[in-house]
């Protein structure tokens, strides 16, 4: 068996087991070498199905190499490398080990050729990543948020498992190809992917858990879970029209929350949700341009989202908070982090020459070409909105705005290197999209840099900036306040809890009442029991045989009558 027949996910998973055993310096070197080894492993793969295992009469394909799995494999491995460098300052090996197991599981999942292998890796991503949430600074809230996160992720895995069993039962195959909603088990699998992809009303685990994770944890988390779901949706449900309204809703409604949210990492979680919406729309449209756009956007998104989370993580690490109401003026202390954050912000906003521009345009154009005019208008609204809250709000409130008087050191060197690599790739892809386009699942016939398109995008962004400036200047813009804003998770964190509490109260009261009633009537009850059981009581006295025969005859006659009636 050569390296080209083993899933590159296993390289990371097996390799991560050594991490806790290595001492300080050696471990740091190993953390950088392992993803580099993974990148080499990826370069050795050739198209086809490998690593076939026989299991309960089924062929499980542990390594399916095609253009879809490769593009996600590459970006996941690059994200692992960047996250690993970003984590080098952490002394304890726990987060790095969990992070590598998590990344390896996600990579294993994108190379899975059947639903059972996918399920195993799917659940592994959940179990390994929750440790990154639990590593968060506020132990108590992080633990609770981690539990809620874990429940949702495991539920998603269970739905996938049952969906896979139904498909197996109906078709005799566990292969993971196009599924569609009409397929047996299709809805269950759709829902499983939907939870992990943070569909509307299934999304709260994201905004709940990611801001609670450690500064390193959120960087790992932002790359894998949701993009694995995007990959799975693209493979299983491309062209499912229901995804278009779902995706459009995802692009639009989180941005309202992002405007009023105070925790800047939560703002980024909302904007992550909004960016997923673009990809989901692309999958729903399902043309080659749209699917290419989804793959390209997942690729660029992982880089700029990691960059933004890294810059906020650096602020959290140095200042101890990322609340907009507490920050401001940090450009004086952290100039490099500021520059990197602005590069990430420009990329997510789709400023020409930055990565978001060359990927998001494909999806928006595809919506226009296929005459989904309403969806197109929503995507344009969301593009302006994302510039507003991620492009301007994040760097503005953290690094500029009103000087908070806080002074700190620049981010540690390893963080700066990690941010530098991500920033370099964001600009590189934006300036030279060719290499990325060459990786995409289908041949690309799309030119992002036409004069007309660049002008349109610049107008959209500059006028959005004007709106922000005017609203700030006139003090209409809502100030950052120390607060939380209710989202759909209120339904289970408060309403659901209250319902459970009152149900439990009602149950206790009923049981107590029943006990009282029995106690009050115990003499009467005992009397009845005794009356029926003493000699000559109804249950104890002997019956004549004749009456028995009579009743048997009645029953037989009734049977006969029923038989004729039928």
């Amino acid at each position: 068996m050569t390296i080209a027949e083993i899933s590159p996910g296993l390289t990371l998973i097996a390799g991560s087991l050594l991490i806790p055993l290595l001492p300080g310096r050696l471990r740091s070197a190993y953390l950088v070498l392992l993803p580099l080894l993974g990148l080499f492993h990826l370069s050795q793969l050739t198209a086809g199905d490998f690593g076939v295992v026989q299991f309960i009469g089924q062929q499980l394909v542990t390594l399916r190499v095609d253009r879809w799995s490769m593009v996600f494999g590459w970006i996941f491995m690059i994200a692992t490398l960047i996250s690993a460098i970003y984590a080098l300052h952490v002394r304890s090996p726990l987060q790095a080990t969990a992070g590598f197991l998590y990344a390896g599981s996600a990579i294993g999942a994108v190379f899975a050729g059947d639903l059972m292998t996918l399920f195993v890796y799917w659940e592994l991503t959940a179990i390994t990543s929750v440790f990154l949430v639990w590593a968060g600074g506020n132990r108590q809230t992080a633990f609770k948020a981690g539990m809620r996160y874990l429940i949702m992720q495991i539920a998603s895995g269970m739905l996938l498992f049952f969906g896979a069993l139904i498909q197996w039962n109906a078709t005799g195959s566990l292969a993971f190809n196009h599924i569609g909603l009409d397929a047996p088990g299709g809805w269950l699998i759709f829902l499983a992917f939907g939870i992990k992809c943070a569909f509307p009303f299934l999304h709260n685990w994201l905004q709940d858990a990611y801001p609670e994770a450690s500064e390193v944890g959120t960087v790992f988390l932002s790359a894998f879970t949701t993009k694995l779901a995007v990959y799975a949706l693209a493979r299983g449900f491309a062209g499912t029209e229901l995804l278009i309204p779902i995706g459009a809703l995802m692009t639009a409604f989180p941005i309202f929350y992002a405007v009023i949210e105070n925790d800047l990492r939560k703002v980024l979680a909302y904007s992550l949700n909004n960016q997923l919406g673009f990809m989901v729309v692309g999958i729903g449209i399902g043309t080659e341009l749209a699917l290419n756009g989804t793959a390209a956007h997942a690729f660029t998104h992982i880089l700029y989202k990691a960059l933004l989370f890294m810059s906020m993580g650096a602020v959290l690490y140095r200042v101890g908070t990322v609340k907009g109401s507490e920050l401001g003026g940090l450009y004086k202390s952290m100039p490099l982090t500021t520059v990197f954050c602005i590069i990430g912000a420009a990329s997510i906003s789709g400023v020409p020459l930055f990565s978001g521009f060359v990927s998001k345009s494909m999806i928006v154009s595809a919506a226009g070409y296929e005459a989904y005019v309403f969806t197109w208008a929503v995507l344009l609204f969301a593009s302006a909105g994302v510039f507003h809250h991620s492009g301007i709000k994040i760097p503005y409130f953290a690094f500029f705005a009103h000087d908070s008087g806080k002074r700190c050191k620049e981010a540690p060197m390893n963080m700066l290197v990690a941010m530098g690599i991500a920033a370099f790739l964001c600009i590189g892809i934006g300036v030279m999209p060719g290499p990325l386009y060459a990786l995409l699942p289908y041949p690309v016939d799309y030119a992002p840099y036409t004069a007309s398109h660049v002008l349109a995008q610049l107008q959209l962004l500059m006028f959005s900036a004007l709106a922000f400036s005017v609203l700030m200047w006139t003090r209409i813009y809502p100030p950052e306040l120390r607060s939380v804003n209710l989202d759909f998770d209120w339904a289970y964190r408060v309403a659901g809890m209250e319902a459970v509490k009152s149900f439990r109260l009602a149950l206790t009261e009923t049981r107590a009442g029943l006990g009282e009633a029995i106690k009050a009537r115990r003499l009467a009850i005992a009397d009845i029991l005794v009356r029926h059981r003493r000699p000559e009581g109804m249950l104890m006295r002997s019956w004549p045989t004749g009456s028995m025969a009579l009743w048997v005859m009645v029953m037989l006659l009734a049977n006969l009558a029923l038989y004729y009636l039928k």
């Binding site: 007309s452 107008q459 607060s483």
Partner: protein, 87 residues
């Protein structure tokens, strides 16, 4: 402005007139981008994109609506920071 750090030299951005310069340059940039449309043939996939300055005005209105709507939404949704912890 920098009361706790009296020994720092004030930065360029600390002066109010420079912030004003930035504010007005945003206005000027928007004006220039509208002017540019006279020289560049803007065409798109959707009919409405051909209106003069469509993307600019759409972005402006979208963001103002977004912020005002979010501000209203906050009146309903806002809770104290420890809202969930106290349960």
């Amino acid at each position: 402005m920098n009361a706790p750090h009296p020994n720092e030299t004030p930065r360029w951005l600390d002066r109010a007139e420079n912030v004003r310069k930035i504010y007005y340059s945003v206005w000027i940039a928007c004006g220039l981008l509208l002017l540019a449309e006279l020289f560049i043939d803007k065409h798109g996939e959707v009919e409405i994109e051909h209106f003069f300055g469509f993307h600019g005005f759409y972005g402006l209105i979208a963001c103002v609506v977004l912020v005002l709507a979010a501000k209203l939404l906050r009146c309903v949704l806002i809770r104290p920071e420890n809202y969930y912890d106290d349960r």
